[in-house]
């Protein structure tokens, strides 16, 4: 590194340290120690809203008394999910302009193709060659949608755009990561659930339900021991059935919880010590967004793979 480069690094490091010190003084912790600002701090206290807020003023007024009305309301999470959707579609649109397979892919096309290949290989490694083609679109879309929602929510425009009240504080944000809206993970969880059950049914036919209603052992039971075994089997089947529905809940709250926690974490760190301090947490949130997308898509994939596998009860009935 040249001398001027070293100097530049020094200046930058000094700037970062200065910014950190300034942030510490101005932030909530500094205000508490040094007693700054007449309101007890220079920064407005972060407000955490679990339900999304409406974008339009009239909806917001309605929502003031007793939550969102039972009709379509354009909330900030829905708006940002639309933006994510548009961004994804635009990226894919421009990545597939070059239809000539003989040319080596470049730039955006190369990137998107690399991502597609990585997801494709991942699915193939779990589900095997035969299913990959048909599972791919949904799994890939879940992954891309979740990860883009999470990552785009880290853009600075998300917390900074909004509608202010008379004190100049933002009361309604224009955009909020869609993952922090319970309805988005729930929608994905429902899609995943339907997808899994559909593939199970389609591949195994009605015998798919044999996994949940296991009367086979009871009907074949000999003596009290066999009877006991039969009841146990039925109970296990019902547990399986229950777990199938519990997945919807776990899917929903895993993603919702992680996204909301990340949002709150960033909000709080930026409130406590603005500027430099929250940077590592942004890095963390990048990781969390990726991991949650991977988990959502990966679990759906695993559940489908399990659902299409012929289960023991089914086999026993066939062979026995």
């Amino acid at each position: 590194m040249s001398a001027s480069g070293k100097k530049m690094v020094k200046v930058l490091a000094a700037g970062v340290v200065a910014l950190f010190v300034y942030g510490f003084v101005v932030g909530a912790i500094g205000s508490a120690i040094f007693g700054g600002g007449e309101k007890g701090g220079f920064l407005p206290k972060p407000e955490v809203h679990l339900p999304p807020q409406p974008v339009l003023a009239q909806d917001a007024e309605e929502a003031e008394h007793g939550g969102l009305p039972a009709k379509f309301v354009l909330t900030n999470t829905i708006l940002s999910s639309w933006i994510t959707t548009l961004v994804l579609i635009t990226v894919f649109f421009f990545a597939t302009r070059n239809k000539d397979a003989s040319k080596a892919p470049r730039g955006l096309q190369n990137l998107v193709e690399a991502v597609i290949v990585i997801i494709y290989d991942f699915i193939e490694s779990v589900a095997g060659k035969d299913l990959t083609r048909r599972l791919f679109p949904l799994i890939a879309t879940i992954f891309l949608f979740v990860v883009s929602n999470a990552w785009m929510g880290l853009l600075p425009i998300y917390p900074s755009l909004g509608f202010k009240n008379e004190h100049g504080e933002i009361v309604r944000h224009l955009l909020r990561p869609a993952g922090t809206d319970l309805n988005m993970p729930m929608a994905l969880a429902l899609v995943s659930f339907v997808f899994v059950e559909y593939w199970g049914l389609r591949t195994l036919g009605w015998s798919y339900f044999g996994k949940f209603f296991r009367f086979g052992a009871l009907l074949r039971a000999r003596g009290p021991g066999g009877l006991f075994q039969g009841f146990i089997d039925i109970f296990v089947g019902l547990l399986e059935l229950l777990s199938e529905f519990v997945r919807i809940v776990s899917f929903t709250f895993r993603l919702f919880g992680n996204m909301t926690a990340g949002e709150i974490l960033l909000l709080v760190t930026a409130f406590l010590i603005p500027f430099v301090f929250s940077l590592p947490f942004y890095g963390l949130e990048l990781l969390v967004g990726f991991i949650q997308a991977l988990i959502f898509a990966g679990l759906t994939l695993v559940f489908v793979t399990i659902a299409v596998m012929p289960h023991e009860g089914h086999e026993a009935e066939e062979h026995g």
Binding site: S81, A95, A101, F145
Partner: protein
């Protein structure tokens, strides 16, 4: 649930949104990209196969050429051998012919000589007869002289032997 923000119209909106995204991404993204990837891997596989085929073909061709070359060499060798044999044969023939000619010539010469000699002998013989007759005439004409006879005969014989020595 309301406190957490559950709102079924939003849920429906997200479901619709996700379905649209899935559909559009499938049509705009996955399908063309996967097709292109397939095509590309197909192309790569094909060109690899082609390269392999060409390599094999060239090896085969080289082997064939080698064989052809060897054959040509062998043929050339054979041709040379043949030519040499032909030349040998020709020389042999010529020599044979020359020998035959020479011997024929000698034979003829010998025959000629023989004939000449025979002729000469014949001639001598006839002359000898004439000589004998002449001698007899002379004997008869002189007659009755024993000594004369003897002298005469001796003279003839002398003459004839002289003649024979000459011939």
């Amino acid at each position: 649930m309301d406190k957490l923000g559950f709102h079924w119209p939003s849920l429906v909106v997200y479901l619709v949104n996700f379905s649209i995204l899935l559909g559009v991404l499938y049509a705009v993204g996955y399908k063309p990209i996967l097709r292109m990837l397939d095509q590309r891997s197909q192309r790569i596989r094909e060109s690899l196969e082609q390269a392999e085929r060409i390599q094999k073909e060239s090896a085969e061709r080289q082997a064939a050429m080698q064989i052809q070359l060897q054959e040509a060499r062998r043929e050339g060798q054979a041709l040379i051998e043949q030519a040499r044999q032909a030349a040998e044969q020709y020389r042999e023939d010529e020599r044979e012919k020359a020998r035959a000619q020479a011997s024929a010539f000698v034979e003829r010469a010998r025959a000629d000589i023989q004939r000449e000699r025979d002729n000469a002998i014949e001639e001598v013989r006839s002359q000898f007869a004439d000589l004998a007759i002449t001698a007899a005439e002379r004997v008869i004409r002189r007659s009755l002289d024993r000594d004369a006879h003897k002298e005469l005969i001796d003279q003839v014989l002398e003459e004839s032997s002289q003649f024979r020595r000459e011939s």
